[in-house]
Symmetry: C2
Subunit: 168 residues, 2 copies
């Protein structure tokens, strides 16, 4: 290689010791938290967090029905992933797919009665789980700050840097 290597000795703004600790605490704590909550949700209801979220979104939608693509965008899932997830949930009778009258390409996904009762049964235990391991561990101010911070991060990701397939 030449004399002035322009690609390598990147002039990075490293993290300070304190920042590093905060970042690691955030990463580790979050991962472990999601792990526990996922595990409890699964053993209480047989649902994965993703499936639970699908049911929640559907429960809030008019006629408990939503287009696949909307669902995918809301959940920040790839379409492929959603298709697989919904197929499995359909096999278990939690949701049903049907053609979309407005757009022949589209597919509507509706919650079944079983899906509803499953969600209703799962929700209280899940909420308790979130309380036990997160909300009640923190002071109200801490929890509030957590929500605010991550809302800002989410906002920055969604709108900010030409996310994924958008031209700047």
């Amino acid at each position: 290689m030449g004399t002035t290597d322009t690609t390598s000795p990147v002039d990075v703004q490293w993290l300070t010791e304190a920042e590093q600790q905060d970042w690691r605490a955030f990463r580790d704590g979050t991962i472990r938290l999601f792990d526990v909550i996922a595990h409890e949700l699964d053993s209480n209801s047989g649902l994965s967090p993703h499936e639970y979220e699908v049911l929640v979104r559907l429960s809030e939608a008019p006629a408990r029905t939503q287009r696949m693509s909307e669902l995918a965008d809301d959940l920040a899932h790839s379409r492929s992933r959603l298709t697989h997830t919904i197929r499995r949930m359909e096999e278990r009778g939690l949701v049903e797919r049907s053609a979309c009258s407005a757009d022949a390409r589209g597919v509507n996904c509706a919650m079944t009665e079983l899906g509803w009762t499953t969600l209703v049964a799962a929700a209280p235990l899940h909420v308790q789980s979130v309380r036990d391991h997160l909300v009640d561990v923190l002071t109200p101010e801490q929890f509030r700050a957590l929500g605010d911070a991550m809302a800002a991060v989410r906002e920055h990701l969604v709108s900010g840097p030409c996310h994924a397939a958008t031209e700047c």
Copy 2:
């Protein structure tokens, strides 16, 4: 079924509207954040976040070597998962396994030179990624609060509620 259904109408402490917003912001924001960072890390270095973490831990260990079980505990991975991950990394020449002299059951995992250079190459870009999407999006106070909060959550999970396979 009988008259007084004892199993169902659980007396749950539901989340308030505000709590729910904070929880959702935290969940969604975190998931999207990890997604982006993972994607950038992978496209910059071909490493997954898990693999990157393995290399970081090894780089900090004496002789850049650590026992499999320690590694698994540190990373909050199942032993099985770690075995799979390390096997793949070994095939790529990033780490090496060897018998543990002190404990014939044990296996030592050491970072290779390639592992080291891979980590060194990946680190600056990864740090920048974390800055871009998290640290620099927040005020120093917000970031600090985030770290503190999740440190408390982690502490509560690790030490608190007879985690997993420990009797209370």
